[in-house]
Symmetry: C2
Subunit: 288 residues, 2 copies
């Protein structure tokens, strides 16, 4: 009977949320590694960004985003947002009955494996860096690691402006990377799902000797590992169509979204998120 | 009796809202021009920014912000946010019984007065520029005006990063101002409440021949004019303490807020805005 339950559970979708479109880079990796899995994505574009907001608010938003995805009877929740992973993973683990994976732990783990001299740089939003979560997860695995953390609040707006190969972006990266490079880091975690779009630009500033870690890519691997271990891999051989929900569809959204996903956004729907929250106001996951 | 009502109404506070701290530059101007008025400010820092979001969402947010301020029995509402003024002034005028002033019309009016050749540049967020509201308000007053509009999504993040006198900000301004300067504008509207902090940097790129219009400053003048005309000026000689409410208090908030206001934020309180909305879910101003 347990095996039967598992094979039913294996057919359930994976839920993924982010503050906006950045998490689509994680979806891209998941689709590549796990083409048989049904993916349901929620991007909280109505309240983006999270990275400049307070820990308390980020935790509330993350719980609400999870609540939305739980409607779809998901088997696993992926927090495809570094800020929400850094600030709210514990809150979600505490409140949800299904497994939850964030992007911070897989990124930290990979960096510890990759580094030669134990000198690791972390780039992220202000909230992610202030949380010190990457540093904690790294130190847990290598107590001697030397960590150089750098908040990079301008990178997301630069990417969303489309200035990927721009002199201004290059100068901004030089400014943000100055301290980590002075600290002689040999490995850098791109601790925000937007940053892999700047991988080439970052590598140009660091030079080829520094390894760049894409937390999203590492997370996709972890998801596959976890599903395998727990017998929840969907072994049906039909590729599933993903579903994308967002709380706002601003100008140029589908264009930017497709840039992150690497293909056209198929099933895309706007959710009236305020209404959703109001109709769920007595839900045990929401603060009274 | 009507005069008595008016003198009572004159003692009521003025409500001001913005998506965050930018509107504090308008409060600064109001405090200077109208030291006897009680000011109540609401900054929607939990959902900032508005300038990258959809018109529909901006209208909903503006209505909700207004609803919050209406609790204080205000005599006048000032939309101290260019994006919300451009997208939601009509909706607020339609729904509220008190007078409502946005920053767009006063800015457009001033530009039409100042321009020598009728060539006007407009800088703003993507949503403000897409709304075309400045262009409409200018053309209404001068049908022959030539308008060069430029969305500048990076300026707010640059200012909030504190890079006011920075090479990167100068280069970004050069890029954004290229087209307007090619169009030979003689007057530029700083169509976002953040931009006056870059006044010197902008003027350096344009050269002294171009006049810069601070929509916030113009709005403060309009507020005084309107209160005078309608007999609602508070003539009590005691300077009032302002009250500041925000929906989130992130890291460094008071520091940045004080930068915009030009003095320390005195009475500052965080509102649990989701709770406020939920408890007002049947309010006639909110969409069902």
């Amino acid at each position: 009977v347990q095996d039967e339950n598992k094979s039913t559970a294996a057919k359930l979708p994976i839920g993924i949320f982010d503050s906006g479109v950045g998490g689509l880079t994680v979806v891209k990796q998941l689709k590549k590694l796990l083409p048989n899995e049904a993916l349901i994505y929620f991007g909280d574009t109505a309240r983006i960004p999270y990275g400049t907001k307070s820990p308390r608010l980020i935790q509330q938003y993350a719980l609400e985003d999870a609540l939305f995805l739980l409607q779809f009877d998901i088997k696993l929740l992926v927090i495809a947002c570094n800020t929400a992973s850094a600030l709210a993973l514990d809150v979600l683990l505490e409140n949800l009955k299904i497994p939850v994976l964030g992007v911070v732990t897989p990124g930290a783990e990979a960096a510890v494996k990759e580094t030669l001299e134990g000198k690791i740089g972390v780039l992220g939003t202000s909230a992610t860096i202030n949380s010190d979560m990457y540093a904690k997860e790294i130190t847990k695995r290598n107590p001697n690691a030397r960590i150089s953390s750098q908040p990079c609040p301008l990178l997301v707006p630069l990417i969303e402006e489309g200035w990927i190969n721009d002199e201004i972006t290059a100068l901004t990266l030089k400014k943000y990377l100055k301290q980590p490079l002075e600290d002689k880091v040999d490995t850098i975690i791109m601790g925000c799902t937007h940053y892999p779009l700047l991988e080439t630009a970052i590598q140009k500033v660091t030079g080829g000797g520094v390894r760049l870690i894409d937390s999203g890519k590492e997370t996709a691997r972890k998801v596959k590992e976890l599903l395998k271990k727990s017998g929840l891999l969907n072994i049906e051989s039909k590729a599933k169509e993903s579903q994308f929900y967002v709380s706002d569809i601003p100008d140029k959204f589908e264009e930017i979204g497709s840039l992150f996903l690497g293909e056209k956004l198929s099933f895309l729907e706007r959710v009236d998120f305020d209404r959703f929250l109001i109709s769920n106001k007595d839900h045990p996951f929401l603060k009274k």
